[in-house]
Amino acid sequence: MMHSLESIIREHPFFQGLEDPYIQLIVECAKNVRFDEGKVLFRQNEPADHFYLIREGLVAVELMIPHRGFTTVLTAGGGEVLGWSWLFPPYRWYFDARALEPTRALAFDGKCLRTKCDEDHDLGYEFFKRFARIMTQRLEATKLQLLDLYGVNV
């Protein structure tokens, strides 16, 4: 069954509750993408010119650690969002991202979105609210990871 970009955006949890005029605005910055297993979505230090709404699949966010190789920091699956470096200068990725499974996503052009957010601050506020929530969730999850919850002395 074919879904329009608009309906995909509307149904994705990240944009839940976003008003239709805004969806019509941001759809101009979106495109469907798919990544085969093992395909790199982005690499550290490359320009961060997109973010991804993952529809299906699983993506690993990785960091290359000398003498240890690539270490996975987190994974993002269907219904989740990947990437906020497009929002803040210097607009570069801090991590690598690689598809662990065949992955379907919507890719949003960061520059296009930034322009629209600059033109309409209400839209910008909606974006920052949503990304702030994601950042908070990731920060909380990272704190728990750092606690080494399953260690002997916890």
């Binding site: 699983l58 219904g79 969730q137 399953y150």
Partner: protein, 288 residues
Amino acid sequence: MVSTSENTTVGKPASEPMLPRLYRIQRVHLETDDTFTLHLLPAQDEMGSSFAPGQFNMLYVFGTGEVPLSISSNPSDSPLLQHTTRAVGTVTKAMRRLGRGAMVGIRGPFGSSWPLEQAVGRNVLVVAGGIGLAPLRPAIYQLIAQRERFQRVVLLYGTRSPEDILYRQELEHWRGKFDLEIQVTVDRAASTWRGNVGVVTTLIGRSPIDPLNTVALVCGPEIMMRFSVIELEKRGLAAQHIYLSMERNMKCGIGFCGHCQFGPLFVCKDGPVFRFDRIEAVLGKPEV
């Protein structure tokens, strides 16, 4: 029939609850670097004791001491008992050195159990962290054995690394079942790991459950359980549909000594499985 804490025919300790019964080790299975499972059979009383999922026994290593350990075996396999533990303290390190044929003393089973009867007709969301999978394992066996009595059964399991995954073969077997949804996540992993990375609480948000018709069974480190409850409540689960297995310093197992006091409750006698709304006021309180 599914065993529950209200069931009066199973899960009762022996008539002399302070008197250990002799059990012989049939097998010691290494689960991970520091975690092992003892397979035990009664040495004297051939009937052994039946138990309900979620209950615990006090295991006595002669000459060393006694520790409370959740029962991790299939209730249907009684009188065989399995106990999974990590070798961290004096007693469990001594236990780890025991081999096949060695004897231990067992008192129990003690405490409350997972509310499987209340979950009949509903979705069951099992959230396990680290060695917290062990007390949930008997409940999972029962859910599988009586699968048609429940709607969706989802297991979310988080642990430290791929090397720390408990019951690996069993998880693979369960994952192969069409009527069981299993998600495993680890806190850290090399890029060779093909699964989820992140704390187990992140899986709760992704889980395909109807919050109005789901019972959640949660066991793991207390902090993990507290954050799991937050996520479950965000998903819309009511406190009376969330059950946690608590851990405290159990000694007597029958509510006499007071070592495991948890606010107005005793974990050994009133728990270890508690409905969340009954412990909400004391959970996370530093004084408790």
